[in-house]
């Protein structure tokens, strides 16, 4: 067992990325994720790896694109307004099928918004803020430990599917300190050169990477396909890949849903608060449970649909005006009522607020009007 140390989410995820074999970090300062950039500026050179503070988020994501095109494991991090600027680059990464890891420590929006924690970027993350028919894998951890654990997963998924993996954290997770075990020698750590493939890994060989055309023909990394029908076929190929991701990579956790009359659905830090509210509701005799999607795309629609066959009611809790709730409704397909409680613009719901909502919704009519 690894030693547990107290770390804030931003620094912990940065260290986890280094252990996961991140060759290069490119970033531009923005609150509330500045600890990542500062930590990487110190630790990456210590490990003989690359750190560059870019002139903008546009440049940062394109630096990632450049390093990724040569087969390196590259990442960037930012917060909501900066992630908006990166959408062009993420679309190009999708078109060129390059692996990349992007961390979004979400803050309140729209616009410059504020620097308080938020979950307002769910649409952007899961629908894709960039142009074209593409998907990114989105991970929504709920603790500093899970943030740590999802970094090697993010790099592996990126390499396996040649996709961008977005780690969707928020200002609380980034800033909050919790005890974490950071694996010293992760089994997931790749060999120094991901290009030649790895002996201990099932990850595909990066024979498409730009390494100089030595003893082979020219490699081209591109997203422009002008000939009639070629881009259509490429899109079908991308969609087939995305279906594989949907088939293989869904992660979802649930608690006490078997007998529940109300199932609360939340992700990230909001799910952490929901856990507390559901526990208290159970103590009061309310049959409540929760479902927590860890992968936000691919979304655990099947798990939620199954729950909808058996349970009376869903309550979706988000730190937004309601974004994931649309995915829950799509999964439930009208089989059960789906209600929503949210706090946008940096508002964080308390356990009591959510508990009150659960009480209201589950209260028998006669008690409600007593």
């Amino acid at each position: 067992m690894n030693e547990r140390i107290l770390m804030c989410g931003n620094e912990a995820l940065a260290e986890a990325a280094i252990i996961a074999g991140c060759d290069a970090y490119f970033g531009y300062p923005i609150t509330p994720q500045n600890e990542i950039t500062a930590y990487m500026s110190k630790r990456m050179p210590e490990e003989g790896r690359v750190f560059v503070q870019s002139e903008s988020e546009l440049a940062a994501i394109n630096m990632v694109y450049g390093a990724a095109a040569t087969g390196k494991r590259a990442m960037t991090s930012s917060s909501s307004p900066g992630i908006s600027l990166m959408q062009e680059g993420i679309s190009y990464l999708a078109g060129a099928e390059l692996p990349a890891v992007v961390v979004n420590v979400m803050r309140g929006g729209p616009g410059l918004g504020n620097i308080a924690p938020s979950q307002g970027d769910y649409f952007q993350a899961t629908r894709g803020g960039g142009h074209g028919d593409y998907r990114t894998i989105v991970l929504g951890p709920w603790s500093v430990q899970e943030l740590v654990d999802c970094m090697p997963l993010a790099f592996d998924l990126a390499d396996q599917y040649r996709m961008t993996v977005l780690v969707l954290a928020d200002g609380i997770l980034g800033q909050m300190m919790e005890p974490v075990a950071i694996p010293k020698n992760s089994k997931l750590k790749p060999a120094p050169s991901a290009v030649e493939g790895t002996k201990n890994s099932k990850l595909p060989k990066k024979d498409w990477a730009l390494t100089g055309a030595k003893n082979r023909g020219q490699n081209i990394v591109r997203s422009l396909w002008l000939q009639e029908g070629v881009l259509e076929q490429l899109n079908y190929k991308l969609q087939a890949k995305y279906r594989q991701v949907q088939k293989n990579e869904i992660i979802c956790e649930q608690y006490a849903v078997e007998d529940a009359e109300i199932v609360v659905v939340a992700y990230g830090i909001a799910a952490r608060i929901v856990r507390g509210a559901v526990a208290k509701a159970r103590q009061e005799g309310i049959r409540a449970g929760w479902i927590r999607p860890v992968t936000l795309w691919p979304f655990p629609a099947e798990q939620i649909s199954q729950a909808a066959d058996q349970f009376r009611m869903f309550l979706v809790v988000e730190m937004s005006c309601g974004q994931m709730v649309e995915d829950v409704k799509l999964a439930v397909t009208g089989k059960a009522p789906v209600l929503f409680y949210g706090r946008p613009g940096g508002g964080v719901p308390t356990v009591e607020e959510i508990l009150d909502k659960i009480r209201q919704l589950t209260m028998p009519a006669k008690r409600q009007y007593k």
């Binding site: 060759d23 290069a24 490119f26 690359v50 560059v52 870019s54 002139e55 903008s56 546009l58 440049a59 940062a60 394109n62 630096m63 990632v64 694109y65 450049g66 390093a67 990724a68 095109a69 040569t70 390196k72 590259a74 062009e88 680059g89 190009y92 060129a96 730009l210 390494t211 100089g212 055309a213 030595k214 003893n215 020219q218 490699n219 081209i220 990394v221 591109r222 997203s223 422009l224």
Partner: protein, 249 residues
């Protein structure tokens, strides 16, 4: 029979998509010759811009990447920093480098990135249909300056070399033209020097600007386009080496 000239291997033997009289073909050849003469083909990575030269990889037989409009210097940074043993060059037009990508080129130079930039200035946006570029000269008629570029409403031609030469991180900045044989020979020397510096590990960015003909959107003949570079463009964009500080690492 004695061979006095032949196609260099890194320049592919294929039909071109460029218009008659376009300068891209010449610029591609100079780069291909340089790569072969320096023997660096197997460790060179090129970056194609958004613009007419987006298909540069159809002609240059090296590993190449296509990137978002203007972002080539950032992509080059990501490549070179993670692969210091490789030779990384970007090939960018005036819309790409001098309009949408101004921040990226200035900051790549400012960080002294060890990359080579070939900047094609033909005073117009070619691929989108001949609109004004930042480098369009005053009075020049384009699709978006139909009365001729007027400084009061459309600004002045942007001189990229002069802008970059003041930055310590830019170690070599030269402007050449592709308007006649003598000019092309000088351009070849400049392109080669810009690659040699990187191959030698010189600590900074090398940029060569090439004044290049676009007869299609200058609405003239290929021959007259060459003349226009000499008579008009060089007045606004004087030729010569603006900076050559060979810094060793």
């Amino acid at each position: 029979m004695k061979t006095v000239f032949k196609r260099t291997p890194t320049l592919k033997d294929c039909p071109t998509h460029y218009c008659p009289g376009c300068g891209h073909g010449i610029a591609h050849r100079l780069i291909a010759e340089t790569i072969d003469e320096l023997g660096i083909r197997d460790r060179t990575i090129g970056i194609a811009p958004v613009g007419c030269a987006v298909l540069a990889y159809n002609y240059l037989d090296v590993d190449m990447v296509e990137v978002a409009h203007g972002r080539a210097p950032a992509v080059a940074t990501g490549m070179k920093r993670t692969n210091p043993d490789k030779i990384v060059f970007s090939y960018q037009g005036d819309g790409d480098l001098a309009a949408i990508g101004t921040a990226e080129i200035i900051h790549a130079a400012h960080r002294a990135e060890q990359i080579t930039v070939i900047f094609i200035n033909n005073a117009v946006f070619g691929m989108t249909g001949g609109q004004m570029a930042p480098t369009t000269v005053l009075g020049q008629v384009t699709a978006t300056t139909q009365q001729g570029r007027d400084a009061r409403s459309q600004g002045y031609p942007l001189q990229i070399c002069e802008l970059l030469a003041v930055l310590p991180g830019a170690i070599y900045v030269e402007r050449c033209a592709l308007s006649n044989v003598a000019r092309i020979r000088q351009a070849k020397k400049a392109v080669k020097h810009a690659f040699e510096l990187q191959a030698a590990g010189a600590a900074g960015l090398a940029l060569v600007e090439l004044l290049s003909p676009c007869p299609t959107y200058w609405h003239t003949s290929p021959a007259k386009a060459m003349e226009w570079i000499e008579t008009e463009m060089t007045k606004v964009f004087p030729l010569g080496c603006l900076k050559n500080v060979t810094c060793t690492p």
